[in-house]
Symmetry: D3
Subunit: 105 residues, 6 copies
């Protein structure tokens, strides 16, 4: 195993732990990850943090508050990423509703 490869796995481990509950709750940390990903304009990272934020119970109003901070900090260049983030959030909400309605039958 290449040494580079081993260190990459260590980085992935640090990445996972950065979002675990510490002094700040996991929900806040995921929102930090979401906004950082939006201002750095990485769609894959944004999707990942949207899914994790939903698991932590982030509401739509809270999402839009976070999106707004990202938009103001990062400017209009983030708008295409904002649009895709809203689409993905909608898809996640729909999947959740479908699953809930299936389970309630």
């Amino acid at each position: 195993m290449a040494s580079g490869n081993l260190q990459i796995r260590r980085f992935f481990n640090l990445d996972t732990r950065a979002y675990e509950r510490g002094a700040l709750p996991a929900k806040t940390k995921e929102l930090l990850g979401l906004v950082a990903s939006m201002v750095l304009r990485c769609d894959d990272c944004v999707t990942y943090h949207i899914v994790r934020c939903l698991e932590e119970g982030v509401t739509d109003s809270e999402f839009f508050d976070a999106f707004n901070v990202a938009l103001v900090v990062g400017g209009s260049i983030t708008i295409p990423h904002l649009r895709r983030a809203v689409e993905r959030l909608d898809q996640c909400r729909q999947m959740k509703r479908k699953r809930a309605s299936r389970n309630s039958r």
Copy 2:
């Protein structure tokens, strides 16, 4: 007054309002602004949000949790900004202690 100038003032107004309490508390929003500023590597913006975070009662452990998210997302290129952020946080804490000890006399 140039139209550009008027619109710049409107942007500044949007910037101020983005951090006001909404669905998310002001403290969380300031932490979002802090991490966004660190990954985009703007020392002046980081300083501004450190001061505001302190006003919102962010503890040292919470600051380091947020710094760690910024460091993992943004990589080692953020380290010089992280060092300066920690220095500024120390200065703010010292100023606060001095003021408190002066007031207690």
Copy 3:
């Protein structure tokens, strides 16, 4: 309606007005938006400004002057975006010619 959402709409409004004719003509402002989008490497934003530049009568020579400024400022990392910009410009020109030939029949 979430407050974040309202503020996002206000940002979109500021974004629209930034490109309206002021002290600088709309054509110059769209070229500014085009070059800013290229150096920040956002294909969706580049496409938007190419369409608007065409509406403002930007010629091919003017486009390539602007592309060249973006390339020199932003470096070779912008080349894939430059290639896609030239493709989109070609597509827009072709669509325009087709529409013109259809209307002239």
Copy 4:
């Protein structure tokens, strides 16, 4: 002379020529360079293009139109650079006035 060094001089040459009058006038090109420098947040580059824009006769209203495009595209993270740009613009205007009043005596 290192080959790297020769190529760096060739790049500097391309950089100079990118702003010479072509299909677009030098004034427009300098405004493109100014906005690109602001959204990429390089104070030295912004200063350079402010000086060149002044030589090309850019008015204050035109500057603020360009600043506003940069602010909207690049977001609040550009604000410290915007503030320094306005300060530098003021300094350049004052130097020009002093020189003019000295010459008129």
Copy 5:
């Protein structure tokens, strides 16, 4: 031919020459291009330099050393690009093996 266009071709020429053997061997220069492309997060540029690095005989262990530097410098925001880089490297290796087995028949 637009002057902008001519200058773009000159830039492309400088781009090609930057990776030719000089004081540093072509292999090192391609690795520099690879890491620069990863921290600036341009998939097309990463693919290009992976292909060129393979031609220069870069081994898998060397690739992962370079990927690790890019990951540490650029942070977790580069992870989606790292994943795609590893996929592309695998594809290139497979194509090479197929071609080799075909030729050995």
Copy 6:
């Protein structure tokens, strides 16, 4: 000790190890760090890697080859950082010569 703080130290450890000799020699890795720092435009990081490159025996011609790759990839926006890098390289060379002449007495 805050958990964030512990993880930051772990990141610093990964950062140090990324440049240790592995499949690639330390010299090549430091050049990778130098070019990554230049295209991401961090003067402090550039200085650090210049010092380390000098320790690894990088020659002036090799430095300029690396600077040229950074300039072509990152564009004219890196020029102020390139200038400061050359100044720092000169200062390091002078300090080394002074020390050598002192030791030879």
